[in-house]
């Protein structure tokens, strides 16, 4: 077919497709009624076949380019769902997640191992030389035990608690997300983050033990820590899952493997969203609550119960849940 005839016969359809596209790109596919939707699909397929024809039979680069861009725009508008399925996500977090977690248990154990190693290292260092440990291992502005005997630190008023919780929450989430993102350094950065967070925890524990305030440390950290630390470890787990894509390229090309593992990694990572939210609530409500309001024993009991709940969740839930891609 020669170009003139081709343009002559096909042009009205392309124009129509352009008009519909304009609308769809503005207000979405939902703005079309049934008839228009059918027409849109038909026009798109027709344009695609025209493009095919232009590539094969008709000379004229410009026509081909024009059709190419038209098809590209329509393709983007038609394929790929961008609307997030909120119910699906909730169901995933509630039922599907534990299965994913269990699948990557080795990665989680690796993160836990590194964290523990860091904790032991930090504790030992400050056991032998507490000044060095405090000066070099602790980030500036961490909590310190108060004067001996004052038992459990200063009494914060609610306002200070709010401020501190807000800061702590965003800080912890940032650390978790960074630990995840560093997975692209073949997991080295993630490993370091896990280890270092362990070190901080270890040194802090040593500092409090030395001040004979282990209970203050335990009641102040454990109620939310039982969720926050797993959340951080899950960030690390997701980082390692991603790193695996970079390291283990077979049997697929590295590009595909990285993308495949990346998808898994983000699914793993999303599990710590509810954990961190719950941890923030516990932090504000339990850990920072004054002792006259919640007894130390109660705080520790809450920590224990929450920890057990988490374990039960990842160990027991969702064995029969069919995973959806």
């Amino acid at each position: 077919m020669d170009l003139a005839t081709f343009l002559q016969t096909r042009r009205p359809d392309w124009k129509r497709l352009e008009e519909i596209l304009q609308r769809v790109e503005g207000s979405g596919l939902a703005s079309l009624d049934d008839e228009q939707a059918v027409e849109f699909g038909r026009l798109y397929r027709r344009a695609a076949s025209d493009l095919n024809q232009a590539q094969t039979f008709v000379s004229g680069e410009a026509t081909e380019l024009y059709l190419n861009d038209l098809v590209a725009r329509a393709y983007l508008a038609i394929y790929g769902k961008t609307r997030i399925d909120v119910w699906g996500l909730m169901r995933y977090l509630l039922l599907g997640y534990p299965a994913v977690f269990r699948r990557y248990l080795p990665h989680f154990l690796l993160a836990t191992l590194l964290f523990t190693a860091g904790g032991v290292f930090g504790y030992l260092v400050s056991w032998y030389d507490k000044d060095v440990a405090r000066a070099y291992l602790l980030p500036p502005r961490t909590i310190r035990p108060t004067e001996e005997g004052s038992d459990g630190g200063v009494q914060y008023d609610t306002d200070q608690v709010t401020a501190f919780s807000g800061f702590l929450f965003t800080h912890n989430v940032s650390v978790t997300l960074f630990a995840f993102a560093l997975g692209v350094t073949f997991g080295l950065g993630t490993a370091w983050m896990m280890f270092y967070n362990g070190v901080i925890t270890g040194v802090l524990a040593a500092v409090f033990v030395e001040a004979h305030q282990l209970t203050a440390f335990a009641t102040g950290i454990l109620p939310h820590g039982v969720l926050e630390i797993p959340a951080c470890l899950i960030g690390g787990t997701a980082g390692f899952v991603m790193a695996q894509g970079f390291l283990q390229a077979r049997p697929w090309p590295r590009r595909e493997e990285v993308a495949r593992q990346g998808k898994q990694a983000i699914l793993v990572l999303f599990g710590c969203v509810p954990l961190l939210a719950a941890a923030a609530c516990l932090e504000a409500g339990v850990a920072r609550a004054p002792d006259w309001f919640l007894d130390k024993g109660v705080k520790l009991a809450i920590a224990g119960v929450v920890g057990l709940l988490f374990l039960a969740y990842v160990a027991l839930v969702g064995w029969r849940h069919k995973e959806q891609a």
């Binding site: 003139a4 002559q8 410009a62 393709y75 401020a163």
Partner: protein
């Protein structure tokens, strides 16, 4: 120009023009303005709040900043199908490797990895050294976040309008002239029609001087060949465009 080939579900190949580092950098710079504005907004709100409750103001500020830093790009790329305000202004868009619109999870992945891509900077915003180096080293200019999320940034062309339309004919003289033109153009062979149309469709890709020269030459050729006359004050280009328009106009 680098193009990314895609096969549609109907097995028709087409391609996207990959966005270069320049346009992406520029889009990012533009995005910094709304980011700064949002941050400022939070600051003002927090200061007002902290007059009464300093702690609450501080907490709000922390969370607001956090949400902007980690959420700005994610939010827009998810809601606007791969575009942020900056990207929209430059006409570029994030898409999946397979050529379809990106999903929420992909937007999350590629933007969480800004934390590494922007590394010398301590916050997850920008393209820093790792992102720049990786993007410069692969064909589709994908940074680490793109590699992991299986995405790339392309131009979405909307301005391409190679199909010309005939202006309204107002008077009898014009109509007659077009009729004559139609008749004469019938004498052209296929090659000639093709050349004529090709030139008109491609005219936006030519440099100004070449464009003028080419249209001049073509106009002259057709003037002689078809025994037509350029109207007064009619440019060579307009004359040729009109012929092309007549050529592809539906005869009915």
């Amino acid at each position: 120009v680098i193009r990314h080939e895609v096969l549609t579900a109907e097995k028709v190949p087409f391609s996207y023009r990959v966005a270069g580092l320049g346009s992406r950098w520029l889009a990012w710079m533009i995005d910094l303005f709304p980011i700064a504005a949002l941050a400022l907004m939070g600051l003002v709100l927090a200061s007002v709040l902290s007059l009464g409750r300093p702690g609450l103001g501080f907490a709000l500020m922390a969370i607001w900043t956090f949400a902007i830093l980690w959420g700005y790009f994610l939010f827009f790329e998810w809601l606007w199908r791969g575009q942020t305000p900056g990207k929209a202004m430059l006409g570029i868009r994030v898409i999946q490797w397979q050529g379809t619109a990106l999903t929420f999870f992909q937007a999350a992945l590629r933007n969480l990895l800004r934390a590494v891509d922007g590394l010398p900077l301590p916050f997850p915003l920008g393209p820093g050294l790792p992102g720049l180096i990786v993007a410069a080293c692969n064909r589709e200019h994908r940074r680490l976040g793109d590699l992991v999320a299986d995405t790339l940034v392309v131009h979405v062309e909307r301005k391409v309008q190679p199909i010309l339309t005939l202006g309204e004919t107002h008077n009898e003289a014009d109509r007659q002239r077009l009729a004559v033109l139609r008749l004469r153009l019938g004498q052209l062979d296929r090659e000639q029609k093709q050349t004529l149309l090709d030139l008109c469709l491609r005219r936006d890709q030519l440099r100004v001087l070449e464009r003028a020269r080419l249209f001049q030459a073509v106009a002259q050729y057709f003037e002689q060949r078809l025994e037509l006359m350029l109207q007064e004050q009619e440019s060579a280009e307009k004359f040729v465009l009109q012929m092309a328009a007549v050529l592809i106009e539906r005869s009915s």
